[in-house]
Structures are given as structure tokens and as C-alpha cells.
Amino acid sequence: MRALGPGSVSSFLKIILDVAQVALSIGLGVVTTLGLAALLFHFDPKIVFQDADFSTADAASARRIIAGGLLIGAIYIGGVLVIVGRLRRIFSTLTAGDPFHPDNVRRLRTIGMVLAVLEILRYPIMLITVWLAPEVMEKSGFSLNLTTWFAVLVVFVLAEVFREGARLRREAELTI
């Protein structure tokens, strides 16, 4: 089975990324709407925390935590959406049989930067969660995700590989 060109693995992956982008866009819309609704409207926090018994003051802070969590979730989904969008465009060039398109370098760098920003954002969010809801952090735990940082470095190295490929492609185009 071919890796590049029409009807290849790349085109199959591009279809999966198309579906993922639509699903993420819908998810982003839903989570953002819920987050804003939680921020603006009065609701019973027991919808989320079913076992908890809230006083009036606790209920207000629980609502703020839920709204904050939803909006942070929306930021994360937005970041993943940017990554999937760039990957889609990269796979479009792979499907067209043109992997060393000059724009792929910029797209890979963007993916690397968004991955890094999302990982960096995770640390203050974890600290805030420890402060506001320590029982949640007891379940998930505070962790430094080395896999993500490894992925960030790999993506930046791949961007340089693609830059070299684009340079060679341009040189080949200008060889008569």
C-alpha cells in the first residue's frame, strides 16, 4: 500500500483528520457555550458533583470551578483543533504527492509550538486545581509529561527536516 498520493494511507488519514476536525469544532462550540452558560446563569452544582453536599457559599464557588474547568477545556480543544487543522493541511500535501511543500515547515513549527503551549498551560492549571479542588489532584496526580516534551522536540526536528526537503525541492526545480 502506498504512503503518498491519491488513494494512499495519507488520504485515509486525511479523511480521519477531517472527521476529527468537525468533531472538535462541534465539541469546542458545545464546551464554550456550556462554560459561558455556567458563568452567566445560576444552576445547581449537584448536576456535576452529585455526591457533594453544598452550602450556599460552596455552591457559588463550585459553579465558578465548573465554569472555569469548561473554559479551560475549551482552550485545550481549541489548541488541539489548531494542531488537527495544520495536520490536515500537511496530509493534503501528502495526498497530492508533494510532501516537501514549503508551507509544511511553518505548519509543523505551529504544531510544535501549540503542543508546547498546551503543556506549559497544564502546570498553572494543575497548581490552581491543587489550590481549589485538592481532592481532584489526589486522584489524577501532579506529573511532568516527558512524552509531550519529547514529541515537541521531535516535531521541531521534523520541521527542520522538511525545511531541508523544501530547499532541495526548490533547487531541483531550478536545475535545468
Binding site: 530547499r167 526548490r170 531550478l174 536545475t175 535545468i176
Partner: protein
């Protein structure tokens, strides 16, 4: 770039059009235009052979060196 292609001068001397030369050497007009305007990065020996054969000239008649600052590969690479 210090290397200048003198294809336009030779074509004028031979009273030959770029289209005719393209047909004779089997290179597209677009590629010959790139060569003529000095945008080419390299010339294959096979192309040089065909050009010299059809234009009845030496490789040295097609290109000349003009002292000047060397071209910056990074500048050329940017799309």
C-alpha cells in the same frame, strides 16, 4: 549572482527564438526562461550538451563570471 548566462545574446546572434531552441533541445520554454533570466541554480551536463550542440558554441560562450558578492543560499531558499 556572479555567474551570468548569455543565452539571449547567443540566440540573437543565431537569429533563433527561445521556442525554437526549446523544441530542439527538448527543454520546456519555462525552464529555458529560468536559465535565460539567470534564476537557474544549476545546469545539467545533458542540457549543456544539447544547448552547445544546437547553438554550435562552447559552454564558456553560454556563461561568464562577473566578480561580485556570492549569492546567499538562504535568501534563494525562501519561498
Amino acid at each position: 549572482m556572479p555567474i551570468r548566462v548569455r543565452l539571449d545574446r547567443i540566440l540573437l546572434e543565431r537569429r533563433m527564438s527561445l521556442t525554437e531552441l526549446a523544441d530542439r533541445v527538448g527543454v520546456t520554454i519555462a525552464n529555458l526562461s529560468i536559465l535565460k533570466t539567470g534564476k537557474a541554480r544549476a545546469v545539467r551536463f545533458s542540457t549543456l550538451d544539447a544547448l552547445c550542440r544546437e547553438l554550435e558554441c562552447q559552454p564558456g560562450d553560454l556563461v561568464e563570471f562577473e566578480p561580485g558578492p556570492p549569492m546567499d543560499p538562504e535568501d534563494e531558499d525562501e519561498p
